[in-house]
Symmetry: C2
Subunit: 316 residues, 2 copies
């Protein structure tokens, strides 16, 4: 068994590789190290269980090079991690999301690799979906360019399933948080408090409310679902049982960092930025029906993440 993990040096990718190696698999990592960090996977590179191909998914040639190494399953996690970027730069998600996914699929077709797992996102549902949102919700009308690229990736994958006989697992993630986080609200809050421990600026009114899932729960669920669902196309929401508000997150981060005198200041408005979905909670019945587990609820995952990121980032 040899897996290819795109974005394998990144946040979720590196945790997935920990699990794959623990299961006895060998892993090829394709990463351009733009937001990933070699330190996250260095232990597996040292033991030879993981092999790094430094390359860019925007280049079909780079993807073909990695795909040539005897791959049976592709875990396609690489993407621009910064949802907000699309409000300023409009072609990043198109290139690093949609075109990159095309390149992965085309390289799979040419190398006859037949199985893919894809990191999609709850943001494909757009705004105003019923909460919790089931997989069959429609129409899916994303409001961020990142969400558009995830939806485009899903469609490309389903078309490859229908046209070329691929087997695919599409996972729509809640907000995934935890150790090695390189972006997101908790990461941002700690960096803000590091710069100025007396105040914490929060984008929006703090009432944005979303579901948070710890990254260890996420990668375990991915592998569990893949072991227990065997359709040509498998679509699963991955999330936790509840939600937390940005206000709660701010309070937990202030407490964990010990910056208890920090003034929490809200910029106002119902969302962090144009294209931010203010409320999101996924229905996870389908995932739970496979027997997959979620150990932490949203608040627990947030507290855990605040502690480990505080250690990683530091306040000094």
């Amino acid at each position: 068994m040899r897996a290819l993990v795109t974005g394998g040096a990144g946040f979720i990718g590196s945790h997935l590789i920990d699990r794959l190696v623990a299961r006895g698999e060998n892993v090829v990592v394709l990463d351009n190290l733009s937001s990933g960090d070699l330190a996250f996977i260095q232990h597996h590179l040292d033991t030879g269980r993981a092999t790094l191909v430094e390359g860019d998914l925007c280049s079909l040639e780079d993807v073909m090079g990695a795909m040539a190494l005897g791959i049976d399953t592709v875990y396609h996690l690489a993407a621009n991690p910064d949802i907000r970027l699309g409000t300023r730069v409009t072609d990043t998600d198109l290139r690093q999301g949609t075109v990159a996914t095309y390149n992965v699929l085309e390289a799979m077709r040419l190398h006859e690799v037949k199985r893919i797992a894809f990191a999609s996102s709850s943001v494909v549902y757009g705004e105003g979906a019923p909460m919790p949102t089931p997989e069959h919700h429609g129409p899916c009308m994303p409001i961020s360019l990142y969400g558009a690229s995830k939806q485009a990736g899903e469609g490309l994958i389903s078309s490859w399933v229908g046209t070329f006989g691929l087997q695919a697992y599409i996972f729509r993630f809640a907000n995934i948080i935890g150790a090695r986080g390189t972006h997101g609200v908790i990461f941002d809050f700690i960096h803000k408090l590091k710069a100025d421990p007396t105040r914490l600026e929060v984008l929006g009114n703090g009432l944005q409310e979303k579901s948070y899932m710890e990254v260890g729960d996420c990668v375990d669920a991915i592998l569990h679902v893949m072991d227990h669902s065997d359709a040509p196309l498998n679509l699963f929401n991955l999330g936790s049982h509840d939600t937390a508000s940005v206000r709660q997150i701010a309070e937990i981060v202030v407490e964990v960092t010990g910056c208890t005198n920090a003034a929490i200041e809200y910029t106002g408005g119902d969302r962090g930025w144009a294209g931010d979905v203010p409320k999101a909670m996924l229905a996870i019945d389908k995932m739970l029906a496979t027997g997959a587990n979620v150990r932490m609820n949203s608040a627990e995952a947030i507290r855990h993440t605040a502690k480990v990121l505080l250690e990683e980032i530091g306040l000094e």
Copy 2:
């Protein structure tokens, strides 16, 4: 009022321009003339009511040039018309569909053009959807690369609505047929009978069953819906009240062409090619609720189209 019609020299685009000009609008046509035909719009070019910009939607610069001409509404119809091509060439729909739509949206953003209508397709629903299929059906999992590019276009548009305040009309078309058709099953059948009037090869078992809408009904419905629906994002199926089978189409074309001795030969299988959705019928309640009309049912549209295409193509 000045409209930009991408693919305006094509099948549906040229009919839309007839209507727009009849309503007193001036039209800019952006077309690379790859499958369109100048003859379809020459009468409007001659009167000066339409202006041709010969350019490629894969070039942002070309699209910017057309968008600079004082546009208020974009009708984005251009696309690769050959759904089957994706089974052999995998990047055409990505480039001429997804990337082209991105270029249209980016040029609109840069030129502050705020209103778009988009020709999407029933094929975004994929296979196994309930019939008739309502707009809120989910999940949408297209099985053709063409379908994937239409879904990607929809997502890009909805993300521009959410992020940059565009107003959009997304139309999911049934099979649109009629005069000036440049592709599709009736077009193919007439060309096959022209080459050999003694036999007609039909891809699949002929039991594929879809909804057909006459192109005049289609462009009238587009303009009617846009006049009567004013949400930021408007999603409408456009189709007719019933379906016809490929077998019925073959029989009508044989009759209309007078090739009544032609042996109709089926290649077998439940679909024409990998990625062909064998059964499709759209729910059109939402469209009808705006007061839009459908004059022809599927069989009438097929007979009408066979007659006019026979005149256009000829059998000699």
